[in-house]
């Protein structure tokens, strides 16, 4: 194709310009809408694309709206929850595991359910306990308290933590165990239970 023929501005030359109807409309896809036939062809194509697009988009968009709905849902676990009584936690510095019972909303269901677990620990004479979540900040496994070494151990990827929840290196976990707000009211221990993103250096609350 050393010498390409000059571009033909108005459709195929074999068809007389201005002849209405017929297959002319289709062939003028790339031509500017300067002749009536080409203009008509352009209108037909545009309409076909627009109408075709609309009939496809409406179901797709309605589906997308529902599909994205979870993004605006918040975790049901974020209020102050009663975990146990102060009597149940001696001030001996040993962490004890407690289940956190919360109102649990799962789509259309609402129930009171254990939503997770925390380790509470009270040093001698301390009024307010320290509260650590039992979920490993590395990948979300359940951390165990190991009494002989007085430390926390994660059974999944070997993360270990001191009794305060600090990292013992080397550890796959990017951060220390997550502490949670904890208060004592009328001899009851209340915890602001939250879930956090795992695998991040900073503790970020899952909303």
């Amino acid at each position: 194709m050393a010498n390409p023929p000059p571009p033909q501005p108005f459709g195929k030359p074999s068809l007389p310009a201005g002849k209405p109807g017929g297959p002319t409309g289709k062939s003028s896809a790339t031509s500017p809408p300067s002749s009536p036939a080409a203009r008509r062809g352009f209108m037909v194509e545009t309409s076909a694309v627009v109408i075709g697009g609309i009939v496809g988009l409406v179901p797709a968009l309605s589906g997308l709206a529902v599909f994205l709905d979870p993004l605006r849902r918040k975790s049901s676990a974020e209020k102050l929850l009663r975990v146990t009584t102060l009597d149940a936690l001696p001030d001996d510095g040993i962490p004890r595991q407690f289940a956190v019972i919360a109102e649990h909303v799962d789509a259309w269901n609402r129930s009171l359910e254990p939503v997770g677990a925390v380790y509470l620990r009270r040093n001698k004479g301390e009024a307010t306990p320290q509260c650590l979540t039992a979920t490993c900040p590395h990948a979300g496994c359940f951390v165990n308290y190991d009494a002989p070494t007085n430390s926390f151990k994660c059974p999944c990827h070997n993360s270990t933590f001191t009794v305060d929840g600090q990292i013992i290196e080397p550890s796959p976990s990017p951060r220390a165990m997550d502490t949670m707000e904890c208060e004592v009211k009328d001899q009851e221990i209340l915890v602001k239970f939250q879930n956090y993103y795992t695998g991040k250096t900073e503790k970020v609350v899952k909303e």
Binding site: F67, L68, P70, L71, R73, K74, S75, S76, A77, R82, T84, T85, D87, A88, R96, Q97, A99, V100, H104, D106, A107, W108, N109, E113, P114, V115, G116, A117, A134, H138, A139, G140, C141, F142, N144, A147, P148, T149, N150, K153, P155, C156, H157, N158, E169, P170, S171, P172, P174, R175, N195, Y197, T198, G199, K200, T201, V204, K206, E207
Partner: protein, 704 residues
């Protein structure tokens, strides 16, 4: 017949179609090495067929997913076979995919003009892996639930959109109904649809370019039909036989990740206990063919967030990119060799990581070394480096040696913990199937309610949590977890409480002040201990035994029901002894005899109601009053339950567990999924119990 075909052909061109499909040219003749693609198509078709039938019985929601899979597996005829086929064919598909990829790369079938088809193959591979990842969650059992949690948590570390991406995949902030509906839609709709779409193009392009023949050609050209079709069919049959063997053979213990095996039925795919977000599951592992990724992540210990990103996303992504580039790399002179080298390095890496992961989990099983010496040192001084140094007198060589041993010991204990978690999970899976198969069936709130309300499952946990800091419990009951033994018991051992052997021990002058009873309490030198040692020792053995039987009968233990009936006469004699104002009733109240005030009430001693009252408030006038020794009142405020340390439900679970009251299928009940009934603690007296235990043991058998 011919007329019918002619008619059809003139309207559809069916002859050309069949010809096109069957008479593809194969230069060099049919060969076994060409079968892999066909076996993959066969595996996929099997998955579609079995999947559609499973679909007809499956119900994706947090309350029905496990339940419907349980029903398929244990109640529907042939359900285990259908599920087993689907489960193991999925695994076979991964293996076949690896073989197909190897064959394509080794034969250089990715070279022009087949680059696009190679890329389509890699896309198909991603879809198949996506199918297995989504399918793993659908039974909603502990293993699938926790493994999927870890996998989707990894999504959240994707830069910028990670958290949103995770929330979209999970279907909200928490795992639940919408996670299942989404995964199921992906598993049964979106991914198979995409797979079919790409598979059609993949096969069409394969036909367009023809088969990539292996040189030198050994035979003259043949057509696909019938020689190659026969070879393909034989290969498919071989795949099917292997899969069927896995379905019916206990070998699949090794194939299923976690090695948890089959709790109840040795047939078909494993089904763990239902998912429970609050119940720790330390044995969560991905499917075996993803184990290498799981292990790969561990290599990035101490790298922080970047390490996670690198290990979970960047490097696997780069490896996939390298695979995609193979057709381009293959153009260079040494490119093909480079590609083959790369493939084998990858496969070797995957093999090594998988072996390492399995070895880490199972090493405790495979070694005879129990590290007794190291364990003793650790128990004495802990793992603090300074303390270790001083323990070995700062001898560098010894410290070095010990540190090496310590590392091995730590790996050993980790593996042991894992194996124990697997065992616990197995026991729980077995138990839930027993409960679900009971005539009561599963309540609408789901199978998880059965486990949460089951004393046999919850008792040991609740005891460990609330009672074991003072009380011991030996022998440990056959629950899911053994209660951690108290470091030094400060109260009575409660195994078999109120059973004949237990009461016989209490009334044994040599035992009452021992650690199993009052030895570590304020009652060690109390009136009861004095009475047993001085007065009771003088009673005729027959009378003591009658009293033991009578008091134990008050508890109305399930395990002693038959014995209590057989020994009615001796129990009656024993009751008279207890009610005698000069004997027990001089301090204790016993039905109409005696008075409250100086010692615990013996009326209904050890019954459900008695034990509940004792745990609620041991200082109550019915029990120990001010003589109560350190035992807390766990439910002191009957009218204000929020103030109590334990809920009524928790106490009821502990009481029922201590009394051995939980559902067990009757021996003659034709349960499809009957678990072996382990003897309860109450039925399992310690070896050193007095002879009075003998009639109690013999009677239940005789009474039946």
């Amino acid at each position: 017949m011919k007329a019918l075909i002619d008619w059809l052909d003139s309207r559809t061109g069916v002859r050309d179609l069949v010809h096109e499909a069957l008479y593809e040219r194969i230069p060099g003749g049919s060969r076994w090495r060409y079968v892999w693609g066909s076996t993959l198509v066969f595996a996929f078709v099997t998955q579609v067929i079995t999947g559609v039938f499973l679909w007809m019985c499956y119900s994706p929601s947090a309350q029905t997913a496990w339940e419907s899979v349980y029903f398929i597996q244990y109640q529907m005829s042939g359900g285990w076979l259908l599920r087993g086929l689907h489960h193991f064919m999925a695994q076979a598909m991964v293996v076949l995919m690896a073989l197909h990829l190897m064959q394509v790369v080794i034969d250089g079938a990715y070279r022009a003009p087949r680059e696009v088809n190679f890329w389509l193959g890699l896309i198909l591979m991603q879809i198949v892996l996506g199918l297995s990842l989504t399918g793993y969650l659908l039974p909603w059992d502990q293993k699938g639930y926790w493994a999927t949690r870890v996998a989707t948590n990894l999504l959240s570390i994707v830069p910028l959109v990670g958290p949103q991406l995770q929330q979209l995949v999970v279907g909200g902030a928490d795992y639940g109904h919408l996670t299942l509906t989404r995964f199921f839609a992906l598993h049964a709709g979106v991914l198979p649809g995409l797979l079919v779409f790409f598979l059609i193009i993949h096969v069409a392009l394969f036909r367009r370019h023809g088969i990539c023949t292996k040189k030198p050609e050994r035979c003259p050209e043949m057509s696909f039909w019938p020689d190659q079709v026969l070879k393909d069919a034989v290969a498919c049959l071989a795949v099917l036989i292997v899969v069927l063997l896995l379905v019916v053979h206990p070998l699949n213990l090794f194939m299923s990740s976690g090695g948890a095996g089959h709790a109840v039925s040795p047939l078909g795919a494993e089904l763990g206990a239902p998912a429970d977000s609050s119940n720790q599951y330390a044995a969560a592992r991905p499917e075996w063919y993803f184990l290498f990724l799981f292990q790969f992540l561990k290599l990035f210990e101490g790298w922080g967030e970047q390490g996670e990103l690198l290990g979970a996303i960047v490097i696997p992504g780069a490896v996939m990119a390298a695979l995609f580039l193979m057709p381009l790399i293959g153009r260079w002179n040494l490119g093909h060799r480079f590609n083959i080298g790369l493939l084998f390095i990858l496969l070797a890496g995957i093999g090594w990581l998988t072996t390492a992961a399995v070895n880490e989990d199972y090493r405790a099983k495979w070694t005879s070394d129990t590290f007794a010496e190291v364990a003793q040192v650790v128990a004495e001084i802990g793992t603090d480096p300074e303390k270790i140094a001083s323990h070995f007198g700062n001898d560098t060589e010894k410290i070095q040696q010990f540190t090496t041993q310590l590392a091995a010991y730590e790996k050993y204990t980790k593996s042991k913990d894992y194996l124990q978690a697997v065992k616990g999970a197995e026991r729980e899976a077995e138990r839930i199937v027993t409960l679900a198969s009971s005539p009561e069936r599963i309540p609408p709130t789901g199978a998880i309610t059965l486990l949460r309300d089951d004393p046999k499952t919850q008792g040991p946990r609740l005891f460990a949590l609330n009672c074991a800091s003072c009380h011991t419990f030996t022998p440990a009951a056959s629950g899911t977890e053994e209660p951690a033994p108290a470091k030094r018991s400060t109260a009575a051992d409660l195994a078999g409480f109120a059973s004949r052997p237990w009461i016989a021990g209490l009334l044994n002058p040599e035992k009452i002040a021992g650690p199993e009873y009052f030895g570590n309490t304020a009652h060690r030198e109390g009136e009861m201990a004095g009475f047993v040692k001085e007065t009771l020792a003088g009673w005729p053995a027959e009378e003591v035994q009658n009293a033991v039987m009578a008091l134990s009968a008050e508890a109305k233990l399930k395990s002693q029901a038959a014995a209590d009936q057989t020994d009615a006469a001796r129990i009656e004699a024993g009751r008279k002894l207890i009610a005698d104002g000069d004997r027990c009733a001089s301090c204790h109240k016993f039905h109409e005899a005696g008075e409250l005030g100086s010692a615990p009430d013996l009326t209904d001693y050890g019954s459900r109601e008695w034990l509940t009252g004792m745990i609620d408030d041991p200082r109550h006038k019915r029990f120990y009053r001010e003589a109560n020794d350190r035992m807390p009142a766990f439910a002191e405020f009957p009218h204000d339950p929020a103030k109590n340390m334990l809920s009524a439900r928790t106490i009821a679970l502990i009481v029922d567990w201590l009394r051995g009251e939980w559902y067990e299928p009757a021996a003659d009940e034709p349960a499809e999924a009957k678990a072996p009934v382990e003897p309860s603690a109450a039925e399992k007296p310690a070896a050193d119990q007095p002879p009075v235990a003998a009639p109690a043991e013999a009677a239940p058998a005789a009474g039946k």
